[in-house]
Symmetry: C2
DNA sequence: TTGAAAGCGCTAACAA
DNA sequence: TTGTTAGCGCTTTCAA
């Protein structure tokens, strides 16, 4: 009952093309041709080879094949830091695109440790990956990948690098800010406050600029005093509302830099008996389902379409591997997801709006 | 300026051991020995080899090495479904343990599609991974991995399978439930309601049983009518509180099956002017920071220590690869994270308590 | 102390 | 139509 290659103590050794050749009573080359559909073979021989392979449970050794063809159909995915809520959808998108192309992904977590990152790169290069994708928890500029010699294409997804030769895929935060502002203005709001995260985030600056653009393009007044920065938390959202109300300025809307901030803001407004959206409309950012949908009322918010960004990263990596593809910074559009926090919007999804003038 | 192996059009081809041999003026075997510290070599020769390798930027081809040594130092990680909030820490833990052992990880997302899962397994086996770890979004039993012939060890982490030969690592939900119950009782609560998720989750049944055990061991009465199941959402937490209060039964604590439910419950209690923890104490489950810390008051909750579970999975996979390691279902302890939602607990972290009688 | 040669599992060019 | 051979990049005997 025991196959010759199986011993009781050790793990079964996978059969090689040699075993198949022997079993089918043909030569090595014939098996290769038979299994790969190459060369000229009598159909009967091909069938005999195939059935022998099947019977033995033969599975070609990818290592040997890769060695020969100088291509591993494998890419390395380096994430600078621990996985956050942003890296996950990006990662899934990448996997989607790559998996469809039957490429495998090596996962490497840098854990914010440059030494470890370097070690991972070393290992990926030794494994002869066809390409490397770098992601981060935050889209701000980072130092370029260490010790890379151009032997392999590199792509930064939701990560940015000074290197102009590299391709960086980033969400269009500015467009996202415009989307939010435009939506609010079309809903009849004119005095829009902006409660956001720390200004050292590039995204914070871009979203603010986007809001400003929308306001100016609609011929309204841009009021810098209505922009306040804090941390990315619900607590800050609550505090910001308190501060805003304390200044006694009239506002009829708040564009928040994140859904967490928005949730805090909405809670604080409700605590004070201020109706959302009737008295003050609120728009969030991130479309973090678990927060946005649980808020009362549910948040209208900007979605960075991170899964799609990841998919694009995978797709473009395939181009790069094939020697094509562009370089530089590419920004992918955000879209607006309308829920209840600023009334029934006049449109469901304005994903494209960011690309054309608001007029 | 251009190295001989570099052309303008194509990507530079990495140097081989051959190039190094030529550059150092020695034979192939000598380079191998020189670089690996094996064999008997004159120190001067060794140095010459090393410097030649350095100069050329030589990096041994892992494919060739793996082919020869019949070991890839690579494991496949298959997640049945999209990454959820539970798979992420598990995944990080696995990577931690494996990365430390200098093993690489192939990431494969099954996306709930058995065909795709099978295809991934096929590919992993072809790549001759040293082992496969399976994870899921949910710890309930799943069908065993398809088409595996024992050529490679398999480990289920936060996933369960009927196969008794497999090793499954799971959180000790029952212990977690006991932890919560015990904490509440020691805080002086005697009438504990349990608002939880759908009963078709094994975790829901285990957590409930754990609570029951704690209650019985303390000599209190177990009241099944205080257990209500719904969905894993804040909305359900709010609704459950409404229902509970409507029945006019006296309760002084609620143990919630998840932090989301707990947050909904706490919000609903606050809306009604019921003080947490003074009137009713609340304990959550998951220690999902983003929810637990933002709740007012912040949630005391059970942590499944998923990162550690992942780390264990990685470590045990190493054992399995070495031919050792145990089989069967192994449950890893939960711990309690004390915040404010049931008063200042009498202890900070009772991770071990689940393992010994509560007495 | 070093070199030559065989072989890991496979493909492809060339012979038969 | 099939078999033989060389070679992908490396390690490891065995000879020299």
């Amino acid at each position: 009952m025991t196959s010759p290659k199986t011993s009781l103590s050790a793990r079964p050794v996978p059969p090689t093309i040699r075993d198949v050749a022997q079993a089918a009573g043909v030569s090595l080359g014939t098996v290769s041709k038979g299994l790969n559909g190459t060369g000229q073979l009598r159909e009967e021989t091909r069938a005999r080879v195939r059935s022998a392979a099947e019977r033995l449970g033969f599975r070609p050794n990818d290592l040997a094949q890769s060695l020969l063809r100088r291509r591993t159909f494998t890419v390395g995915l380096i994430s600078t830091d621990r996985y956050g809520r942003f890296s996950i959808p990006v990662l899934e998108g990448i996997e989607d695109a790559l998996g469809t192309a039957r490429m495998s992904v090596f996962l490497c977590n840098g854990a914010d440790d440059p030494a470890r990152e370097r070690q991972h790169i070393e290992s990926l290069l030794a494994k002869r990956v066809d390409g490397i994708i770098v992601t981060a928890r935050r889209a701000d500029p980072r130092p370029p990948l260490d010790l890379v010699d151009g032997s392999v294409p590199i792509l930064y997804a939701f990560a940015q690098v000074a290197d102009v030769d590299a391709l960086c895929l980033l969400p269009d935060d500015l467009g996202g800010g415009r989307l939010a502002g435009d939506h609010l203005i079309r809903a009849g709001r004119a005095r829009i406050a902006h409660v956001t995260g720390p200004v050292d985030f590039e995204a914070v600056r871009h979203r603010r600029d986007g809001l400003k653009q929308a306001i100016m393009e609609h011929g309204l007044t841009w009021r810098p005093e209505l922009v306040i920065s804090g941390e990315w938390s619900e607590a800050w959202g609550r505090e910001a509302v308190a501060r805003l109300l304390a200044t006694r300025q009239t506002i009829d809307a708040i564009f928040c830099g994140s859904d967490q901030i928005a949730r805090g803001a909405v809670d604080a407004l409700r605590d004070r008996g201020i109706a959302v959206p009737d008295d003050i409309a609120v728009v969030g950012f991130d479309n973090w389902e678990i927060i946005a949908a649980a808020t009362r009322p549910p948040l209208t918010t900007v979605d960075m379409n991170l899964h799609e960004l990841g998919r694009q990263a995978g797709l473009r990596m395939l181009d790069l591997i094939d020697g094509g593809g562009e370089r530089g910074i590419v920004r992918l559009p955000c879209s607006l997801v309308v829920r209840a926090s600023c009334g029934q919007g006049d449109k469901q999804n304005t994903g494209q709006a960011a690309d054309r003038p608001l007029s």
